[in-house]
């Protein structure tokens, strides 16, 4: 079973991201589950959502306490919401930011956590294509680039299904760019965008 936690702010499409992630996971052949955690908060308030993939039935309704993957759609949340908490050893953290992984770790107080940290300027990319700060597709594409759970095609497909037409196409374009961005950075670690612990560095 793979468990994902998504942090974001109200209005950034966090809940949509969780659902789209579950859909993409299903397309990838997994059982999937998305659990938004709701508050009565409004636009701008911190929001968290969860997603699980498995190859057998998913029964638990427990919130994800020990995520394998954490997506942070807003770098300003790194301090307040402690995104590395409960992260499974060797887990993956993908942060929407224009800074680099060490900055992220510093901001999150997670300099020494055993995790792979990937940064992607998802909002910047999305603004280019969609014109709105809704970076869900780009974030999921970054996830697809960094792990085997979902594919870029699946991400493009679920967004296109939900938002047929121009918006779906813009999301797809953003997804592709984010995907390429992360793939490129994963291929060439010199830019320091991927900051890993010692253990992680050997994995990479």
């Amino acid at each position: 079973m793979r468990q994902v936690r998504i942090h974001g702010r109200g209005g950034q499409g966090v809940v949509t991201a969780a659902e789209m992630l579950a859909r993409a996971g299903f397309l990838a052949g997994h059982e999937a589950q998305a659990i938004p955690s709701f508050g009565s908060e409004r636009t701008g308030a911190p929001v968290v959502a969860y997603c699980r993939f498995a190859d057998g039935p998913l029964r638990t309704r427990e919130p994800v306490l020990a995520p394998d993957v954490v997506l942070v759609t807003d770098p300003t949340l790194l301090g307040p919401v402690r995104p590395f908490e409960g992260l499974a050893p060797g887990g993956l953290v993908i942060v929407n930011t224009t800074t680099d992984a060490p900055t992220v770790r510093d901001a999150a107080g997670a300099r020494d956590v055993d995790a792979t940290v990937i940064t992607v300027p998802a909002t910047t990319i999305t603004m280019t294509h969609l014109g709105k700060p809704k970076p869900a597709a780009a974030m999921l594409a970054a996830y697809a680039a960094a792990a085997e759970d979902i594919t870029l095609d699946a991400v493009v497909q679920v967004f296109d299904a939900r938002f047929p037409g121009a918006i779906g196409a813009a999301n797809a374009a953003a997804a592709r760019e984010a995907y390429s961005y992360v793939k490129a950075e994963l291929a060439g670690p010199t830019h320091g965008l991927v900051a890993a612990t010692g253990k992680e560095a050997s994995d990479a």
């Binding site: 999937a32 589950q33 709701f38």
Partner: protein, 409 residues
């Protein structure tokens, strides 16, 4: 076709395929997504030959449903929490008049303090309203239950609530397989009201009953509730036979080892601790309990699918020889214990059973697998009191920091 769907979407689509004549909508979290989805289908034509009425309150939602049902339509609405209480007068009334309305209750706590998150105190408050209350353990069952709910309600002329945990189910996205329109058309008989406001055969519905007839009225209502258990089981069986999966019934039995749902699972043994629960926590229990089995704790799981009528007989059958019961309860009878526990206790009266009431998940507090395992372990070690508040924080309610008020500054 298996697909990924939000629970509310799944319910809305299934309800639409049951071809209701009138759907009433009033927003309240966490039910809102259901009526939103239905409104879209009413506009797109997916919900055909149906009047979608945006009412001004839950009270009117139920009232419109009453009128629609009495006029011969299959009537549906959905609500939660304060909304259920706000409509409660009409809820009782619909049952008293024998109008087979189906209503989804997206279970949510009741204020004050106001709280939008899940527990069962809303439906429990109306447990004596004369409605059937069918509880869904997951979103697949939530969708499926609506099909049987219409069938059962209409056969019995008793309205039915389909209860699904708010947010936990309504807003969760799962991989589901919805009954198709063709399947439902074949399964669910058309609505043929036995009492209807008919201009050719006029009748007066909703008379006043004096002391000379009220007791008998209630007695007959009681008898019909007794009949309801068989009808619920029959439709559940039929659903199982038709669709190859479980939906509803009176109680849910689970395999002793895999904790997969299994209608053939034998009753519990004398040494077993049986966890009785209702709603989505059953899924979490399914996930949590195998570990205890591995530890050697003889634990079994039993779900209550029909809370009203309360299936005392089916519950006793499933408990088999076990006399040790832990009830996970998401509603509290103040000064007493869990509401479900009270019903279980009455069903087990005279069996000398040891019954623990574990009040858990009030107002949206997440129910964690580890917490559940903890209480079972303690029950096993005879360390669990008869009434336990799971994950109760020490020190009571968190207080605002001293001095953090405008006045103090």
């Amino acid at each position: 076709m298996r697909e990924v769907l939000e629970g509310s979407q799944a319910v809305a689509r299934t309800v639409a395929r049951c071809r209701p004549g009138v759907v009433c909508a009033y927003p309240i979290s966490p039910q809102t997504h259901i009526v939103e989805a239905l409104s879209v289908m009413a506009r797109t034509g997916e919900l055909a030959d149906c009047e979608y009425v945006n009412v001004e309150s839950e009270f009117s939602a139920m009232s419109v449903a009453i009128g629609a049902s009495a006029a011969g339509s299959r009537a549906y609405t959905a609500t939660a929490s304060q909304g259920l209480l706000y409509m409660s007068e009409a809820v009782f009334n619909a049952a008293g008049m024998g109008l087979p309305i189906v209503m989804t209750v997206a279970n949510r706590a009741i204020g004050a303090p106001i709280n939008i998150w899940n527990d069962h105190s809303d439906a429990m408050a109306l447990r004596d309203s004369g409605w059937l209350q069918l509880y869904a353990a997951d979103n697949q069952e939530a969708a499926d239950l609506h099909v049987t709910a219409f069938a059962i309600a209409e056969e019995l002329e008793i309205p039915a609530m389909v209860c699904m945990d708010g947010f936990v189910l309504t807003h969760a996205t799962d991989v589901l397989e919805l009954p198709t329109q063709e399947q439902i058309d074949a399964f669910l008989p058309g609505y043929e009201p036995k009492q209807v406001l008919d201009v050719l055969h006029p009748t007066t519905i909703g008379t006043m009953a004096g002391p000379e007839s009220f007791t008998e009225t209630k007695y007959l209502q009681h008898l019909r509730f007794l009949d309801a258990a068989d009808v619920i089981q029959r439709w559940s069986d039929r659903f199982h036979d038709t669709f190859g999966r479980e939906a509803g019934g009176l109680v849910a039995r689970y395999d002793a080892h895999t904790f997969d749902r299994d209608r053939e699972a034998p009753g519990a043994n004398a040494e077993d601790i049986v966890v009785v629960a209702m709603g989505s926590v059953l899924g979490t229990l399914q996930a949590a309990l195998p570990e205890l089995r591995a530890e050697g704790i003889p634990v079994r799981l039993l779900g209550v699918s029909s809370f009203r009528p309360f299936p005392g007989g089916a519950l006793r059958d499933a408990l088999g020889d076990s006399r040790h019961v832990v009830v996970i309860d998401r509603a509290l009878e103040l000064g007493s214990g869990g509401v479900l526990t009270g019903c279980v206790g009455r069903a087990l009266a005279g069996t000398r059973s040891r019954i623990h009431s574990v009040v858990a998940g009030l107002g949206g507090r997440p129910i964690l697998e580890e917490s559940l395992r903890d209480v079972i372990r303690r029950a096993h070690s005879r360390d669990l009191p008869t009434l336990e508040f799971m994950d109760l924080k020490a020190g009571g309610i968190p207080r605002p920091p001293v001095g953090a008020t405008e006045v103090a500054r």
